[in-house]
């Protein structure tokens, strides 16, 4: 049963990822990406991580992609521009993508079973739905990366504010 669900979900997520890259219309691309995110959320559920699955849908499929759609619609950028202004990035992206795939494959085949089962792994909360376990790990074992991520987000937020202030000053001067 689990295998069947996994196969269908994996197929959907890969197909959506490919369709997202290939579709000409930016809104269609965004929709395929939403479907891909949802499929990934189901994969998380299969890995006994319901909390992560729900956050994946709320944050990525819900909030971020709505923002994407909003920007695409507001700019009227559905069809995109004729030719890519940064031509060199396409080959580089292909090479880097293949490298990432190779690395992932290597890690996967080297370390046998990388999927933790609930209960016996140390870094895995016993009750997958209990946020207490996740919070404890975040604030003890992974405190440094967690705080660094939050500082990074704060800096990005401040950066966005600073950028709008600069453009506003220019408008005032001209």
């Amino acid at each position: 049963m689990e295998l069947v669900v996994f196969l269908i979900t994996a197929l959907v997520s890969v197909a959506c990822a490919i369709a997202m890259i290939l579709s000409k219309n930016a809104v269609h691309s965004a929709l395929f990406l939403v479907l891909n995110f949802s499929a990934v959320a189901i994969l998380y559920l299969l890995l006994h991580a319901p909390f992560l699955a729900m956050i994946q849908i709320t944050v990525y499929a819900g909030a971020i992609m709505v923002l994407f759609l909003f920007v695409i619609m507001l700019l009227g950028a559905e069809q995109g521009e004729g030719n890519d202004p940064i031509r060199w990035q396409q080959p580089v992206a292909i090479v880097l993508g293949l490298l990432l795939l190779a690395e992932g494959g290597l890690v996967f085949f080297r370390s046998g079973n990388i999927i933790p089962t609930p209960g016996n792994g140390t870094a895995f909360p016993t009750d997958p739905g209990a946020t207490g376990g996740i919070a404890e790990l975040l604030f003890t074992k992974y405190l440094l990366p967690f705080e660094m991520t939050s500082i990074l987000l704060l800096v990005a937020l401040l950066g966005a504010v600073v950028l709008t202030i600069k453009s506003r000053e220019k408008e005032g001067a001209s």
Binding site: V27, H28, L31, V66, L67, L69, F70, L74, G129, T131
Partner: protein, 374 residues
């Protein structure tokens, strides 16, 4: 196999109840609005207008289904479904009543924390450990129907409605999520049944932090379901009809249904999170008596009473929503953004902080306050 069959029947039942609920909510709203405006309202079809929803449905069925030539056909067709599906999905995790006992089920043993285990829960998907997050996730998906409906119609007014909806939903989702966290923190669980059980002694809305959180929740959820006074998405005076201008026949009906079913759903969520869910005077005692006398009949009577309490609370919620629609004019766009970002978000952040401090520091050390923070 049998479990799948039972689930299918249950899902169908939820679907039918939700759509019937929608049909009669429209009648309820039209009649109540008419009363508030010194009119009579639809009263011709059937006794007191009872068949009016049926007549409306027939009318919508037989209208011509139009697709604009310039429209993005596929997206235009799936948009109403994308609006409808999340609206119905919300009902899956809401506990609408206390547990009941099927024939031949073992004797009810315990009361209190283990009450859910004593019978079959009155809920489609019981025991979901992340129930509250499921609700938030599904609500956040709900915006796609409106946004895409507006975009795919190839109509400037529809498009403006769609853009407004995505901006509005992003703005209010944060406040909504934070206000929902207050009952979660009070019950220290994301499970909706546990949140309901936690309110047995005292409803969340009667606790100070819960009261403020409820205020934020109510405003933010009204904005999430684009209900008046937050219905800028379909402002007739500015946008012809808003995102659904080009839609007709059953596609339009689906949008209309989604809107009202979402309203019922968020009202049910409000009842569950802040107004004690199915708790009411006497229900606990009935359950206790049923377990003491080991009586299945009494147990099911208690379940029925709890369902009744839930429905009464839900109807009061919906009536209040109609009242607000009749009395408060639509907001301007800048007022909407101001309220969301400058008022509700800071208030809900502060409430969450106070709840956390209260639950960890004040609650355990000051005994008579502990009930207000748990």
């Amino acid at each position: 196999m049998l479990r799948v069959l039972i689930l299918l029947v249950q899902s169908l039942a939820v679907f039918l109840i939700a759509t019937t609920g929608f049909a009669y909510l429209t009648l309820f709203e039209r009649r109540l609005l008419a009363r508030l405006q010194h009119r009579i309202g639809p009263n011709r079809a059937g006794p007191g207008g009872a068949f009016q929803p049926l007549a409306d449905a027939v009318k919508l069925f037989f209208k011509e289904d139009i697709t604009p030539t310039e429209a993005d056909k596929v997206v235009y067709t799936i948009a109403p479904a994308l609006a409808m599906i999340p609206a119905i999905l919300l009902f899956a995790v809401i506990p609408v009543g206390g547990p009941f006992r099927l024939l031949g089920q073992g004797t009810p043993q315990t009361i209190g924390p283990g009450l859910q285990a004593a019978g079959t829960p009155l809920q489609l998907a019981p025991g979901i450990s992340v129930g509250v997050l499921f609700l938030l996730a599904v609500t956040s998906i709900g915006v796609y129907g409106i946004t895409l409906g507006g975009w795919s119609s190839a109509n400037k007014y529809s498009m403006l409605g769609g853009i407004r909806s995505s901006a509005q939903l992003i703005s209010y989702e944060l406040a909504l999520g934070l206000s929902v966290m207050v009952p979660v923190m009070l019950a220290s669980s994301l499970n909706l049944e546990k949140i309901v059980e936690n309110q047995g002694p005292l409803w969340n809305v009667l606790k100070p932090v819960g009261f403020i959180a409820f205020g934020v929740f109510w405003l933010a959820s009204s904005a999430e379901v684009v209900r008046a006074p937050f219905d800028l998405v379909e402002a007739e005076q500015e946008l012809v009809g808003g995102y659904n201008t080009e839609y007709s026949s059953m596609k339009f009906a689906l949008f209309f249904m989604a809107e009202y079913i979402k309203l019922i759903a968020v009202s049910a969520i409000g009842v569950t999170l802040f107004f004690g869910g199915w708790h009411g005077p006497g229900v606990e005692r009935l359950y206790a008596a049923a377990i003491q006398q080991n009586s299945g009949l009494l147990f099911n009577l208690a379940a029925l009473a709890s369902l009744g309490y839930f429905l009464i609370k839900l109807i009061i919620f919906l009536a209040f929503s109609v009242l607000v629609r009749a009395t408060i004019p639509r907001m301007k766009y800048d007022q909407l953004m101001d309220l969301g970002w400058k008022r509700l978000l800071p208030i809900s952040l502060a409430t969450v902080a106070v709840t956390a401090i209260g639950a960890v520091l004040i609650g355990p050390s000051v005994p008579f306050l502990s009930r207000l923070f748990s």
